[in-house]
Symmetry: C2
Subunit: 141 residues, 2 copies
Amino acid sequence: VESKEFTEILAEELMISSEKVAHVQVGNPLEHALLVLVKSGYSAVPVLDSTYKFKGTIGKTVILNSILGLERFEMEQLSEKKVSEVMNTDIPCINKNDDFLTCLKAVINYPFVCVVDEDGYFDGILTRRAILKQLNKYLHV
Amino acid sequence: VESKEFTEILAEELMISSEKVAHVQVGNPLEHALLVLVKSGYSAVPVLDSTYKFKGTIGKTVILNSILGLERFEMEQLSEKKVSEVMNTDIPCINKNDDFLTCLKAVINYPFVCVVDEDGYFDGILTRRAILKQLNKYLHV
Ligand SMILES: Nc1ncnc2c1ncn2[C@@H]1O[C@@H]2COP(=O)(O)O[C@H]3[C@@H](O)[C@H](n4cnc5c(N)ncnc54)O[C@@H]3COP(=O)(O)O[C@H]2[C@H]1O
Ligand SMILES: Nc1ncnc2c1ncn2[C@@H]1O[C@@H]2COP(=O)(O)O[C@H]3[C@@H](O)[C@H](n4cnc5c(N)ncnc54)O[C@@H]3COP(=O)(O)O[C@H]2[C@H]1O
């Protein structure tokens, strides 16, 4: 079991790079965001601005919560509200040069974290599945 | 790093036991299931029958997909359809005596797996977070 090499793996080698990541734009109405989420099948995705800088994440829970009235889900509000009004902005980010143990810690409390460069541009996402697959490989050496 | 003891941990020691797990009943209308999911904040939960046997899982994605019409989400269908009609029944299950490596493999492709006894009764759920916390502890010894 060669643990030194294993923990030297970088985020960049494990991440799903940006072109393969479903995302929404910060100015989209919630209706568009919910359709992207339902059609892609993902429970949450990153939110970017028009220059591809990372702004936050948005998921089905927070969208549905925001339209839950006293009696029913008020679907008409989906076209009125914007992603920027309900997105989650306190998501921890990592850098593509962060090592494996940093990545493992980051995903303990989040199904995915965003990989962002020094200027705030979105490089990709690091998922729990990528970490678990790597750990499974390592523990079977 | 005492890997022998680490991999001997059993599912039972890591699982969230049944009384702490949000769930829905197989005969509930989708409207009730969606409310449970939105209020608990979970993207998917186990489905049990009235004797607490495990039947499947249900999540926001599959509920919203089932009511997505050509023009809009047809919310009125939520009170007409039942959990049994849309739930996911091909979820892998584990037993509370399964060891750590079995648990790790099980959660590579699923955010959680259900812990079920020999008669099909629901004991609890094993989450990715529980596995990742354990691995983080182990890699920092
Ligand atoms: N189309 C698909 N094909 C195969 N398996 C699928 C799948 N969609 C979901 N899964 C499985 O379900 C897990 C949870 O997905 P979820 O959408 O809740 O949570 C996802 C989603 O919020 C986000 N994510 C993953 N891939 C993404 C992508 N390409 N674009 C945008 N977001 C993504 O990262 C979270 C964790 O992903 P992770 O892979 O660890 O874990 C995924 C994966 O194991
Ligand atoms: N109320 C809360 N408090 C603190 N953190 C929270 C939280 N709700 C969600 N999270 C965080 O978000 C992750 C994904 O939650 P999700 O609901 O998509 O996916 C969850 C959910 O589908 C299910 N789950 C977890 N705990 C549950 C419970 N007590 N009852 C029913 N289902 C549960 O297992 C999946 C994986 O859970 P895991 O803990 O690995 O991962 C959780 C956890 O890290």
